[in-house]
């Protein structure tokens, strides 16, 4: 699980059938210091997270396959939840 910030979204007409109907957002993984780390990932979003909001994402493909309800889905990342505003990642 990683903290990430929603920085965009993507649309696709031709895609694996398991992805139809799902929102694909671009999530930038963050370090504990709130700095971007690694390239943004395309993530299945079931909660309607807005641009700029911080979310918890998971790379657990088996959970993502359960969310899209298709055991043959190639989807890997999913949004697990939206962080409350003002959550401080610094300890």
């Amino acid at each position: 699980m990683r903290m990430a910030r929603i920085e965009g979204y993507a649309t696709a007409t031709i895609k694996h059938k398991s992805l139809s109907g799902w929102r694909l957002v671009l999530a930038q993984p963050l370090t504990s210091a709130d700095e971007p780390e690694g390239p943004p990932q395309l993530v299945i979003d079931q909660f309607g997270a807005g641009i700029g909001s911080r979310v918890l994402i998971s790379s657990d493909g088996s959970e993502t396959r359960k969310i899209v309800n298709d055991p043959l889905s190639p989807a890997r990342w999913c949004v697990l939840g939206i962080l409350n505003d003002g959550v401080n990642l610094h300890t």
Partner: protein, 98 residues
């Protein structure tokens, strides 16, 4: 996200590959999202949707790349979607989309 840069054709193939279409794709780096022509090292991805050279695609890597196949298939990267358009606006910068 990745950009298709070429095709790979096999004359001798693994028995799990039948009628496969393999593409050479360059995964995007953070700089690519910002509009620069910088990419990660090219990888070979399995394509079932007919992506063309120059097209932007969504790829799955790792365990999930082999999931769409009913039988165990040696696939490391799989084209999951052909991206029509995307919107990208990192915090504190002007928006960028295609």
């Amino acid at each position: 996200m990745a950009t298709v840069v070429g095709r790979v054709v096999l004359s001798v193939r693994h028995s799990a590959f039948k009628g496969e279409r393999l593409l050479l794709v360059q995964p995007w780096k953070t700089e690519t999202f910002a509009g620069k022509q910088e990419y990660d090292f090219a990888i070979v991805a399995y394509d079932q949707f007919g992506a063309a050279v120059g097209q932007t695609v969504a790829i799955s890597e790792g365990r999930e790349a082999a999931c769409p196949f009913p039988h165990p298939t040696p696939v490391d990267a799989y084209v999951a979607a052909l991206v029509d358009e995307y919107f990208y606006k990192p915090e504190g910068s002007p928006s960028k989309g295609v």
